[in-house]
């Protein structure tokens, strides 16, 4: 529950309503989210929760947002200006607008946005918004991912702001045209309708709120709440010493050549203000490794929220942050560049650049960056449904996070864009959905980046595909030492991840990322995932934690000795004296 404590008293503001109205808006955003999670036809919403729901007011100020897919922190308001530019006042009760155009406030094509204007006495009051990742969006790749694609035209169907419902009536002709472009049209039809349902739920609840309090009271309390959020955000920013901080992070390569693609950020911290300037980032990738302006801003905002432990995703918080992000950089691609990897590899890279910039300023607050994602997607003919399906396997996305002062990383605390809000699929649901058999999903020995606070353990995931692929693609980064997340203040980097295919004859082929590949029935995809990076000198790690990691089977006695300077006997008992001697001598020699 939000407790609002720093509001200036005013006659018009009822202190209890000031808690109730914002909490009610949060609760409405959450109810909308339940529709997406509970009624989706794809594991993307239902299991992994790759969506967000929220409420903006008539001017497009963000008021509330559900907590799923934090990468979309404060991403929703960027959708409103293009819609207002197109429709002006030509909107009415019962209209529903859909849009996925990355150049009109979106992130990448697979994220389909459904927005419903909420009217009260014929006046626009709110927008109920659902934004979520579709199982497919057409195009030549798999589910919209095409490493060979060079422009947004290659990725799939582009929908500018368009009315899917006009005054409550669905536009079947339009919907048919859209769905005809999409390979998994049954699933996508269900999931767009499920976003419409979420927006309807939001609209009903917002109308009930307006019926109870009236638009004027709602408005005055929302204003007071946004002001309070702004003050809280500025207070938090004041805990960062003012100054200019630089950070940069590169990914494996720009896909077309071996050139590492680098995001550079200059963070200028003033008195309760932050400016994030991405001007020095590399020019945009000729392929899909690019972000949009809206999404780059959203990721930088999210990263600041994480460092400042500020969780109020609304317009008030946003007032304290400004951006410089010129067009033509990988952080703000020029039309018609492709931006499919915005929400994944680019997100991770933007976050790490901001974290590395601020690490020297706030070492006690910062976490070692999150791990990088490698993600295969396999299109195949479903043996029972007798139609094309795509296995979007979120077990590949159960990434560990990095250590931070006081705390180890979480085994599934990453990736960056999810901040531990994504959800690992259930193995039974996964096998019931796709013709695969999960052979192993376990944390791997010695995979965590060492540190006083270690990173989370990486997983070893082995999954056997029982039918051949029609088309398969793998995207991501983190297979090279320069692209792994950096350990901080003496903490170790993890080893890079490795993806391989084990053929039915036992041959093992390492698979390069950002390529197409083929699977035969019985082939096994095997991921040796990187662990999270460590924080602080491993020789300062609490000995008890080391002994426990050895007992639990996550750390070998050899690594305990080599990296942590901890000696155990054959039964796993600590040799205290020898350990103390070894650690002291190493610390003094280092």
């Amino acid at each position: 529950m939000m407790l609002i404590t720093n509001v200036q008293p005013s006659d018009a503001i009822d202190p209890i309503l000031l808690s109730i109205i914002p909490n009610r808006l949060d609760a409405i955003a959450e109810e909308m989210a339940q529709t997406l999670m509970m009624t989706s036809r794809s594991g993307i919403f239902a299991e992994a929760r790759d969506f967000v729901t929220g409420i903006c007011d008539a001017e497009g100020r963000l008021l509330a947002q559900s907590r799923y897919f934090p990468g979309f922190a404060c991403a929703l308001p960027y959708l409103i200006p293009p819609i207002r530019a197109k429709y002006g006042t030509d909107l009415c009760d019962g209209d529903v607008v859909i849009v996925n155009d990355p150049y009109l406030g979106n992130s990448h094509l697979p994220d389909m946005n459904v927005l419903k204007p909420v009217f009260w006495q014929e006046e626009l009051q709110f927008w109920a918004i659902c934004k979520g990742h579709m199982a497919d969006i057409g195009g030549a790749g798999v589910a919209g991912y095409d490493p060979a694609g060079e422009t947004v035209w290659d990725e799939g169907i582009i929908v500018p702001p368009t009315k899917l419902f006009v005054a409550g009536v669905i536009q079947h002709e339009l919907f048919d045209v859209i769905l005809r472009q999409i390979k998994l049209s049954d699933i996508v039809r269900g999931d767009i309708m499920c976003e419409v349902g979420g927006a309807n739920i939001g609209e009903r609840a917002l109308k009930a709120l307006l019926a109870k309090y009236g638009p004027r009271v709602a408005r005055s309390h929302v204003d007071a709440f946004l002001d309070a959020s702004e003050r809280a955000m500025r207070e938090r920013i004041r805990t960062i010493p003012p100054g200019i901080y630089h950070g940069e992070k590169a990914i494996d390569d720009d896909v077309e050549s071996d050139r590492p693609l680098c995001v550079r950020v200059k963070m200028t911290v003033g008195d309760g203000t932050v400016e994030a300037d991405f001007s020095d980032s590399d020019r945009q990738s000729p392929r899909y490794m690019n972000s949009t302006d809206a999404f780059t801003r959203s990721m930088a905002t999210l990263t600041l929220f994480g460092i400042l432990e500020h969780a109020q995703s609304n317009h008030g918080s946003l007032r304290a942050i400004s951006f410089v992000n010129p067009v033509g950089r990988c952080t703000n691609a020029a039309f018609p560049g492709s931006t499919v990897l915005a929400t994944c590899t680019m997100a991770e890279c933007i976050q790490e650049a901001v974290q590395l910039a601020l690490a020297p300023a706030v070492p006690e607050k910062i976490a070692a960056p999150s791990t990088k994602l490698i993600f295969p997607m396999v299109a195949y003919i479903h043996p029972e449904k007798k139609r094309l399906d795509v296995n979007v396997d979120f077990f590949f996305r159960c990434n560990p996070s990095g250590g931070t002062l006081g705390f180890d990383g979480w085994e599934q605390g990453g990736p960056a864009q999810e901040m531990g809000m994504g959800r690992c699929p259930d193995p039974e649901i996964h096998e019931l959905t796709h013709p695969v058999r999960i052979l192993e999903f376990e944390q791997e020995l010695d995979s965590a980046g060492a540190g006083r606070f270690r990173g989370g353990n990486g997983h070893r995931y082995r999954v056997q595909h029982l039918v051949p692929s029609v088309k398969a693609v793998v995207f991501g980064s983190g297979t090279k030492p320069h692209s792994t997340p950096k350990g901080l203040f003496g903490g170790h980097d993890p080893r890079p991840s490795e993806l391989a295919i084990v053929r039915s004859d036992g041959r093992r082929e390492v698979l390069p990322v950002n390529t197409f590949f083929r699977l035969q029935a019985g082939d096994i995809i095997e991921l040796r995932e990187m662990g999270g990076p460590g924080f602080g000198n491993p020789l300062e790690r609490d000995v008890e934690r080391i002994v426990r990691d050895v007992k639990d089977g996550y750390l070998s006695p050899e690594k305990a000795e080599q990296v942590y300077g901890v000696l155990l006997d054959a039964d796993g008992h600590l040799d205290e004296t020898a350990t103390r001697r070894l650690r002291t001598s190493r610390l003094t020699n280092s």
């Binding site: 594991g43 039974e428 999903f441 944390q443």
Partner: protein
Amino acid sequence: MGTLLGIDVGGTFTDFIEIDSDGDVTVLKVPSTPERPADGVLAGIRKLADRRRSPDDYLRSADLIVHGTTITTNAVLTRRYAKTGYLTTKGFRDLLNSRRGIKRNAFTAKEAPPDPIVPQYLVRTVEERIGRNGEVLQPVNDADVQAAAERFRAEGVEAVAVCFMFSFLNPAHEERAGEILQRILPDSYVSLSSHILPQVRMYERGSTTVFNACVGPLLRRYIIDLQRQLEDSGFRGRLLTMQSNGGVMSPEVVKEFGANTLLSGPASGPIAGEFFARPHGLRDLITIDMGGTSLDACLVRDGRASITSRSEVAEYALAVPSLEINAIGAGGGSIASVTDAGMLKVGPESAGAVPGPAAYGQGGQMPTVTDANLVLGYLNPDYFLGGEKGLDPELAAASVKREIAEPLGIGTVEAALGIVHLVDAQMANAVRAVSVARGFDPREACLVAAGGAGPLHACGIADELEMDLVLVPTSSSVLCAAGMLTTPLRQDLVRYASIRLDDPSRAAERLDELCTALTRRGSQLLAEQRVPKDKRRLEFSCDMQFEGQFNVLETRVPFLDRGRVTVKDVAAVRRLFEQHHDRIYGYVLEDATVEIQSVRLTAIGLTEAPPFKPIPTGGSDPAGARKGNRRVWFSAQPSDTALFEGGRLQAGNEITGPAIIEHPTTTAKVAPGWRARVDEIGNLLVWRERANLDAILKRLQPTGALAMGSG
């Protein structure tokens, strides 16, 4: 009908309510005996018996004992679980430990996952595999199970949870592992996931099974002890236990399904609150039950406390249905202290029953909320627990002075007022968490205040939340115990169905098969628990989805209890699902096939409503119950405050605050600015004096509700 007993075994007190064959109600509180909780129960029963002419026959005349226990709750709060091992399919060792990757808060890295109930070195895997159609892909490797069992034995494991892939489709492998475990570890408590929760989703099923196992041994010991002691004392009636879902179950079920008892005590509070508020036409309530150690708050909307199947216990997934109750560490025994930073703090530490508040004179040095209430004159030192427990006001005052007033440089009365205000504010926050945080305005509900300490703090909490109406139930101090006597027997059953409605005749046939089997099993369970035929209710629901959806929506299908499912019924099932889906999720997929994943049956054995006898009716003047005056501090200045004997009040009496109403087991405070009226069975309605009670009731009643007996 013979005597009925409701017993609520709490952390500090064990509460009793007895309704005899004449409808006379007796209420009693005795200290709990946490080391061996059954002893406290028997001690209370002996006390009740001693009031009878032939005490030795007392239990022989008792028909029914319904009891709630905090054994499970306390095990969770104190993390005192049985040492538990977890046996799972090879390749899935870290599934529970990984917690599906969910963090509580996205926007902080400064957080550790909760310690697992099963430490990682006690998670062992077994080579075995069932496939998605229930087929055996790989037989159980007995040697793996044996090796795990040996390891568990070496580590001193008391309980083992077993959860294999797809065991809900084919339990054979789990059962085989269970046999081997039981052979090698004959004294251990073994829970199989296919038995505890036969439904899809390995993480939730495994987590629930672990929870069931780790509380199982303690609970089983307790129930066996209680059964034996009751039988030795001549009890031949039915013993039932409250479960988290708001129903009751038999001892045999409790021993196996410990996970269902997490809210065994508190679950009956909202049910009792609803029972007492119903005659006043009040349907939206917030019930609070403040005892010695904790406060439970629950929102009741339209007469129903909300139930969830997706709850978490101390951050562990628990997929059994339970009421949504918020518990915080604030009670009469909560300790007040001054922090290093010079701030007054109350709770969550509690002085419990031993040493108890400073005023008990049992060696407690730290002042508690009870001590503050005594210093302020709210409590009668000679009439706590009906005079059985003498309170020493001087010890209380000395403790408040030494520990709070002097460090803060204020007077003793000021310090005591501070303690009371602070605990009221904390309790108001607990109420906000179940109302405001869900967007529900507490000003639109009636506060039902119960527990030994609740009625003293009700006006304070209501003030914080601007609520206009408080209901203090008769026998308020034992609300949960009373609730147990108003609770039906309830057993939830589920069968995996996988029925597509696009083939109506096949669907009707399959549905009929399942409903027949469930009806047979449900009726059998009710018969075993001795529910007569005319008291049995079977409530069917189906977990349904539009084809391709990942989750299901449970929809009530009332007509399935009729038997003989027809093709026409199948169309009706679809209609019910579509309406429900639109109401909850805002849309319908008109041309998609609907599938029934599971059929659920809630088998209910109705119990008779406890026959509370009306109290004598009188006029508005409460003079007959007046028993003098006392100096009471509602502010820094004392006021000469009227005292009333609760037991002598008559229906229709009205009392203007400030006033104190004393019952043997509880004390109610009518604060200045509040007014109280006594209803037909002795409940108090307390409202803001400046408003009119009928107007408040009218505002809080749902439109169209019939107001009855409001004074």
